[in-house]
C-alpha cells in the first residue's frame, strides 16, 4: 500500500527578487503546512529574470494558478500588453517581421503565408500580409484582454504581460505576506552541509543560521547555494552564444504599444520593451563599446553594464538545492526568455514537489526536464545568431542541439521538428525563423494541395481579422479606462 510522503517542513528560498518571491508563493500554495522563508533581497540587475519587466504567455497561466491577478498587475504594477515582437534588421532583405504568440493558424493558411513569405518581393512592394490576428490588432493598435470563459473574435489571441519590476515585486510581497511567508533580510555568509549531498542550513551574516528540508536558489547568476555545492558543475555555452556585454538603458518616456522590438545593429542587438513607466532598452555586444556609442544605440543613458559568460549548470537540482532562473542558466536577455524559463522550471518543481526525503530518480527526472528547458532556450537564442546579418556582427558559430537539422528541415520543407520543453511552440518557431530571414520551404503535401483550399483559408482569415478589429477597442482608450480610479463604480 502506498503511503503519502512525509511533507517538507521548511523551504528556504534564497533570493528575494520577483522570481524568489513568486517561487515562495507557489510553494506555499502547494504545501500550506510547510513553512516558507525568503532570505535576502533582490539579486540585482545581472539577474535578468529578476530584473525583467516582462515574461511570456506561460507566466499568465502560472499567475492564474497562483492567484496573482492580471488586473492587479495592470492597475497596481504598471501592467501592459504585448501581442507581438518586431524583428528589425535580422533579415538580409531588410524586411521587418513580427512574431506573435500561440498556435492558432490552420495548416492551409500557414502554407498560404509560407508562399507569401517565401516569394521574392520587389522593391517598394511592401510587407507581406499579416500572419496572425495578433499582428493585425497590433498594427491597428486595438486590443483589450478578452473576457475569460466566453468566445470572442479575439479569444484565440495569446499575449504577454509587461510591468514595472519594482511595483510587481511589491505586489508579490503583499501576496506573500498574506500567505504567511517569512522573510529574513541579510546576506548569506555560509553554507552548512548536512547528510550526503544535502545542505543542512545556511548562515546569515550576524543573524545565525536557518535550516530547511529544501533550498531554492533564486540568487541570480552567482548561484549562491548551488555553486558552493561540491558537486556543482557548469556547462559553458560560450562557443555557441556570442554576447559578452549587456548594457542596460535607463527607462525613457512612457510608451503605449502592443509591440516590442528586437533590433540588430552594426555593433550588437538592442531590445526595447514598451512600458507605462517608460521604454526599457538593453544592448548586447560581442565586445565592449565606448559608453557614448552604447548610449547612442540604446537611445538612453546607460545605467550599467553586465559581463556575461553564457552557460548552464550541469544539474540544477543537487542534493536538496534546486536552482531556478539565472542561478541555473546565464544567457543574453534577447527577449524575455529568462523569466519564462524560470517560471517553467518553477512549475515543474511544483508538479514534482518532493517529500522530505528526496529520491534520486525524481531528481534525475526533474533535471532531465529542466536541462531540456535550458537547452531549448540555448537553441532558440543561437538561432538568432545564425542569421546571416547577425553573423556579420557576431561572427559565425557552431549551432547547438538539433538546430542544423531544424534550419535544414525548415528551409527545404517548412517543417519544424518537434523537440521537448522548448520555450516556443512550433508555430512561434516558424514565425521566428521567418523573422530572422529564413525562407520556409513547402511541405510535400502542400505542393500537391489545391489552390482553392488556400484561398478559402485566406478568406476565412480575412473575415476573422475583420471581426477581431471590429470587436477590439483602441488599446490606449481601453487602458485609460482600466487605469481610472474606481472611485464611483456604476
Amino acid at each position: 500500500m502506498s503511503a503519502p510522503r512525509e511533507p517538507l517542513r521548511r523551504i528556504v528560498v534564497a533570493g528575494g527578487g520577483q522570481l524568489g518571491i513568486l517561487a515562495a508563493i507557489a510553494l506555499r500554495r502547494a504545501l500550506p503546512s510547510c513553512e516558507v522563508v525568503v532570505v535576502g533581497g533582490d539579486p540585482g540587475p545581472a539577474a535578468f529574470a529578476d530584473a525583467s519587466p516582462t515574461a511570456m504567455p506561460f507566466t499568465n497561466k502560472l499567475h492564474d494558478r497562483l492567484g496573482v491577478e492580471e488586473a492587479a498587475i495592470v492597475t497596481r504594477a504598471g501592467g501592459s500588453y504585448r501581442l507581438v515582437t518586431r524583428y528589425v534588421g535580422w533579415d538580409e532583405s531588410g524586411q521587418d517581421a513580427v512574431v506573435a504568440y500561440g498556435e492558432a493558424l490552420d495548416p492551409a493558411l500557414k502554407t498560404a503565408f509560407a508562399r507569401d513569405w517565401g516569394r521574392v518581393r520587389l522593391p517598394g512592394e511592401g510587407a507581406p500580409p499579416a500572419g496572425s490576428l495578433a499582428e493585425v490588432l497590433a498594427s491597428a493598435a486595438r486590443f483589450a484582454p478578452p473576457p475569460p470563459g466566453e468566445p470572442t473574435p479575439i479569444s484565440a489571441v495569446d499575449y504577454a504581460l509587461r510591468w514595472n519590476p519594482a511595483a510587481y515585486r511589491d505586489l508579490l510581497i503583499a501576496t506573500a505576506e498574506s500567505l504567511g511567508i517569512g522573510y529574513v533580510a541579510g546576506v548569506i555568509d555560509r553554507i552548512e552541509p548536512g547528510e550526503g549531498d544535502n545542505l543542512r542550513a545556511i548562515g546569515i551574516a550576524g543573524q545565525g543560521e536557518i535550516a530547511a528540508d529544501l533550498f531554492i536558489d533564486c540568487t541570480g547568476p552567482q548561484a549562491a547555494l548551488l555553486a558552493s555545492h561540491p558537486r556543482f558543475a557548469f556547462t559553458d555555452w560560450s562557443a555557441t552564444l556570442p554576447t559578452r556585454h549587456v548594457y542596460i538603458g535607463e527607462p525613457t518616456a512612457p510608451v503605449i504599444a502592443l509591440e516590442d522590438r528586437l533590433t540588430l545593429t552594426r555593433a550588437g542587438w538592442v531590445s526595447e520593451v514598451a512600458g507605462l513607466d517608460g521604454r526599457r532598452a538593453m544592448l548586447g555586444t560581442p565586445a565592449p563599446l565606448p559608453r557614448a556609442e552604447a548610449e547612442a544605440l540604446l537611445g538612453a543613458r546607460a545605467l550599467g553594464a553586465v559581463a556575461l559568460t553564457p552557460g548552464r549548470v550541469e544539474a540544477p537540482w543537487i542534493g536538496n538545492v534546486v536552482a531556478l532562473g539565472d542561478a541555473s542558466a546565464r544567457f543574453e536577455p534577447l527577449g524575455p526568455l529568462h523569466l519564462d524559463l524560470a517560471h517553467r522550471q518553477l512549475a515543474l518543481l511544483v508538479e514534482m514537489l518532493p517529500g522530505r526525503a528526496i529520491t534520486p530518480l525524481e531528481r534525475d527526472e526533474y533535471n532531465r526536464r529542466s536541462v531540456l528547458m535550458m537547452e531549448g532556450v540555448h537553441e532558440i537564442l543561437a538561432l538568432h545568431f545564425a542569421s546571416a546579418p547577425a553573423q556579420t556582427v557576431f561572427g559565425a558559430r557552431p549551432l547547438p542541439g538539433r538546430l542544423v537539422a531544424v534550419i535544414d528541415q525548415f528551409e527545404r520543407r517548412g517543417r519544424i521538428p518537434f523537440r521537448e520543453e522548448l520555450p516556443l511552440l512550433s508555430q512561434e518557431q516558424f514565425a521566428l525563423l521567418v523573422a530572422l530571414g529564413w525562407t520556409p520551404g513547402l511541405p510535400p503535401a502542400a505542393l500537391a494541395a489545391d489552390a482553392a483550399g488556400e484561398a478559402r483559408a485566406r478568406a476565412a482569415f480575412a473575415a476573422e481579422a475583420e471581426a477581431a478589429l471590429a470587436f477590439a477597442p483602441p488599446y490606449d482608450q481601453w487602458l485609460a479606462r482600466a487605469l481610472q480610479p474606481r472611485a464611483n463604480p456604476g
Binding site: A3, P4, R5, A445, L447
Partner: protein
Amino acid sequence: MGDAPKPVRVVVLGGGTAGWMTAAGIAKLLPGIASVQLVESEEIGIVGVGEATLPHIRGFVEKLGIDEAAFMKATHATYKLGIDFRDFGRIGESYIHPFGSFGEEVQGVGFHHWWLELARHGMAREIGDYSLAVAAAKANRFRPPAQGDGLASTFGYAYQFDATLFGPFMRDFAREIGVERHEGRVVSVERDAQSGDVVALSLADGRRVVGDLFVDCSGFRSILLGQELGEAWEDWTHWLPCDRAAAMPCTHATPDLRPYTTATAMPAGWRWQIPLQHRMGNGYVFSSAHITEEQACDAIIAAAEGTPLADPRILKFRPGRRARSWSHNVIGVGLASGFLEPLESTSIYLAQMAITYLIELFPTGGTVDPRDRDEFNRLVDMEYVRVRDFLILHYHATTRDDSEFWNHVRMMQVPDSLAGKLELWRRAGRIEKYSDGLFYDASWIAVYVGQGMLPEAHDPRAAMIAPDALQRATERLRMAVAGEVATMPGHRDYLMREAARLAEAA
C-alpha cells in the same frame, strides 16, 4: 502547379494492410508529386487478423477523405474505447486501459495521487470508476466524445475491424485514385551498381517495374530492406517472447457488443477477443518456446465463447525491428520494418506513423536526401522503443508464477529505458513525461495500477485534505461519470442507428 517536377515513381511491394495504406496515403496526399504502383501476388497471403486500432486511425481515414460510415461498413467495424486486460497482474484481476483519462488533476496534483491516498484509507473504488471511458466500456455503452472540455470530452475512440477487409478497402480506394496494381511475384531486384539504390523489380512473368522510391511492405520476408539491403535486425525476443499466434473467429455468444477489446493472459502468452459486427475475432499470442502450436490451437478452441467459424490458423512473427527503416531509396513500412505484438493494438498505428513521416519527408525531386532519411529513422526509432517499453511493462508488472513463461517475464532484466521509469514510479508515484510518441501518463497509470504495481509513496499533498472530504469529492466525480454513462446508448444500439455503417449479414 506549373513548375512541378516530374512525379516521383513510388513502387510499393506488398499488398497487405501496410502496402495498401501506404499506396492510398501517398496517392491521395501527394497527387502530382508522386505516382504510385503496387506489386502484389495472390499466391502470398496477408498476415492481417482481426485487428483493433488506436484513435489515431480516425485521423488517417479522415485525411484521406473517407466517410467513417462507409469505412465501418466495409470492415465490419465496431467502436472501441479501450482494452480489458485480464489476469495479467494476477489471475482473477482485470482492468481496462481506456482511450481516456482517470479523474482530473486537482491543485496541480495528478488524480492517481489522490486515489492512492483514498486507497490507503480503504475508501477508494476501482480507479476505472473515475474514468468515463472505462465506465462506458464496462456498461457496453458508446457515444462519440463531446467537443469542449467537459466530462463528456474526456475520452477518444478507435475501431475494431477485420484487417482482412481493411486492406482490400484501402486497395479499392487506392485504385480509384490512380494507383496502378501489378499482379506478380518478385524474382529479382535490380540495383544501381554505384549507389546501391534499388532501380527496378523483376516479376516472375518477366515484367520489370521501375521506380525512384521503393516502399517495402512485403511483411516479415522484408524482401527489399532485409533480404536485398541486408539491414540488420534487432531482436527483442528476450523481452517479448511471444512469436506465434493461433487465430480463430467464432460467433458472438451474447447479444451485447463490447466496445472494447479483451486481452486475457494465458500460461504462455495472452489471447485476444475482438468483437466485430458479425463475429468475434479470437487469437492466442504465444511463445513457441513454452508451448506447441497444437497446444495453442487447442487452447483457443477451448477458450472461444461462441461457435468456431473456422479452424485455427497459425501466424508466425518475430518481435524486433530493422536497425534503420529507411535505407538507400527503400522505406520499410509495417512488418518489413519491425514488429511488436498486438497487445496494445499498435501495428496499424506504427504503419500509419511511418506513412505520415514518409509523406512529411517525401523526396519530392526523386532524390533521397540523407538528412531526411536520418530524420525519418530517428522518429521511427523513438516510436518503436517507446511502444516496446510499454508492452514489456504488461508482462513484467506481474506477480504470476504459475508458468515458466510468466516466471521468465517477471524476473527478466528490462531495458534501462524502462527500468528508470519503473523505479521513478515505485519511489514517488511519478511518470516520466514526454509529449512525442505514444502512450502518455494515463496509459502508464492504467497498467501500473491495473496490474497491482502500486508505488511505495505518493505525493505528500494528497494527504493534506481530510480523507472524508476527499472521498466526497471523488464520489461526486464517480456519480457524474455514472450519470453520464447512464445517458449513453448501448454500443450495439448506437452502431445500429445508422444503416450506412452496417455490413451485410455475413
